[in-house]
């Protein structure tokens, strides 16, 4: 009888261990290890134990049953100990992992500090470079203006033309230097918005005044529709962004109209400034690349630029003014760029609404 019980117990174990052959039974510690290796929890052991127990109960009172029960208990106890030991080793593993993690964290902190130092160095470098570049540029631009204005005597048309190139190149170099400085400032988060209260309509008028000479000089038409609305934001940065988009519109438009419209959202917490042109337009596949730095799209219009204008505009609008810039265009269909910003920069949030061309 007892033998039968022992067999049942053994076969229950074998079923678990998938050992149906004639091999002798494993030692209890081997079984426990196998259980653990299989990630079997105490529940599996309990099942096996219960299986044995039910057999023992069936043949209650026999010495064999008692033996089987005892060996089953031993197995259970042993397995529990192995489990406990495994958990203990896992726990110390976690503890040492935590220590390693702390070390890695400390190293990361150090690396971060080093990067910050490097970034700071980059900024100092850019600031001093900009100083070094602007000083000779002051002479190049200044003296060529003086000569071109004939302060020092008359010039032949050819001399004027050549000097005009020097002046233009100097100004172009200056705009590159300015853009690079602005980009590095915005990227390093050095620019804090300077909040002023001003009227949206006045700002648009000022922006238009800046480019009206270029617009009319190219024989283009200007349409302005700007509502009156008090804004609390960084006036200079908003003007810079609007001017950037406006001068792009003029640059890429040979005939037709440049329209500027500025209006508030129905919620009243944001304003949108749209600049629409009838220029070359942008291919749909190029639109996502537009705002990347040094992006110069293949275009029939060979326009001078730094390749930083739109990148900078987007950075300023999103990171300083808390708004968004969006472009809608199609090749040969003109472009529309829209800046949407909160009316009050201190609110820093506004309701975006769907827009359509």
């Amino acid at each position: 009888m007892g033998e039968k019980l022992a067999e049942e117990y053994e076969s229950a174990l074998r079923r678990y261990l998938r050992q149906e052959g004639e091999e002798p039974l494993f030692t209890v510690s081997e079984i426990a290890k196998k259980l653990i290796k299989d990630h079997a929890g105490p529940d599996v052991l309990m099942d096996i134990h219960a299986n044995a127990l039910s057999a023992v109960i069936r043949d209650e009172g026999t010495a064999e049953a008692a033996t089987v029960m005892a060996s089953a208990n031993t197995l259970l106890l042993h397995a529990m100990m192995v489990f406990a030991m495994t958990y203990h080793s896992l726990f110390s593993q976690v503890k040492s992992d935590k220590k390693k993690l702390e070390q890695a964290y400390a190293e990361l902190e150090k690396a971060h500090a080093r990067l910050r130092d490097l970034d700071r160095l980059k900024l100092i470098f850019i600031a001093s470079m900009s100083h070094e570049l602007r000083t000779p540029l002051n002479s190049i631009i200044g003296f060529s203006s003086i000569l071109l204005d004939e302060w020092t005597g008359g010039l032949s048309p050819e001399q004027k033309a050549n000097l005009g190139i020097v002046l233009r190149a100097g100004r172009h170099l200056l705009s590159i230097v300015n853009d690079v400085i602005d980009v590095s400032k915005v990227e390093s988060g050095m620019i804090e918005p300077m909040i002023e209260e001003f009227d949206l309509n006045d700002l648009i008028d000022e922006a238009v005044l800046f480019v009206s000479k270029d617009i009319l000089g190219k024989g283009l038409e200007i349409k302005v529709e700007a509502m009156r609305k008090a804004l609390h934001t960084d006036r200079r940065r908003l003007l810079q962004s609007v001017l950037n988009l406006l001068s792009n519109a003029v640059k890429f438009t040979e005939k037709g109209v440049i329209s500027i419209s500025a209006y508030g959202s129905s919620e009243g917490d944001s304003v949108s400034i749209s600049i629409t042109d009838t220029g070359v337009g942008i291919r749909a596949e190029d639109i996502p690349r537009l705002f990347e730095p040094f992006c110069r799209l293949d275009s029939s219009v060979k326009a001078p630029g730094t390749g930083l204008g739109l990148y900078l505009t987007r950075k300023i609008v999103t990171e300083i003014l808390g708004g968004e810039v969006d472009c809608q265009s199609g090749f040969g269909q003109g472009s529309r760029f829209t800046i949407t910003i909160p009316v009050d920069i201190r609110a820093r949030s506004f309701t975006m609404k769907g827009r359509s061309l």
């Binding site: 100083h131 602007r134 000083t135 200044g142 804090e192």
Partner: protein, 124 residues
């Protein structure tokens, strides 16, 4: 003739400013350091003084403070010229006793008028 003291260590820029101011009807008294410039301003009490911010020795801020600390220099309007204004420079310039500042590059065709607007006077 109205006098202007120009404190600028870059010789090319000094020559440029001299051209511009002469055309504007001023006599230019040049200085290449802040120390020398401050002494000249106090001694000559010019119509105004142009001070470069980055100078060898004492910088433009200290030069302005030195001028403003002197009884004779107190009334001379000071115009700062900077190659590039860093964050906080504008506030520091205005706090150091300057009447205004211009960033390089300056526009020779408009700067004299801009200066007059800043100091609220025209050449006598």
């Amino acid at each position: 003739m109205n006098k202007v003291v120009v404190i600028e260590d870059d010789k090319d820029n000094l020559l440029l400013i001299t051209y511009i101011l002469k055309r504007g009807g001023y006599e230019v008294i040049p200085a290449e350091t802040g120390e020398e410039g401050a002494d000249l301003v106090v001694r000559e009490t010019p119509s105004f003084a142009i001070v470069d911010i980055s100078l060898p020795g004492i910088n433009g801020f200290e030069t302005a403070e030195r001028i403003k600390a002197d009884e004779r220099g107190k009334g001379v309007p000071l115009i700062a010229i900077t190659a590039h204004a860093m964050a906080g420079d504008r506030e520091r310039i205005m706090a150091s006793g300057f009447s205004g500042y211009f960033e390089k590059p300056i526009d020779p065709l408009t700067i004299v008028a801009e200066i007059h607007k800043t100091i609220g006077s025209t050449p006598r």
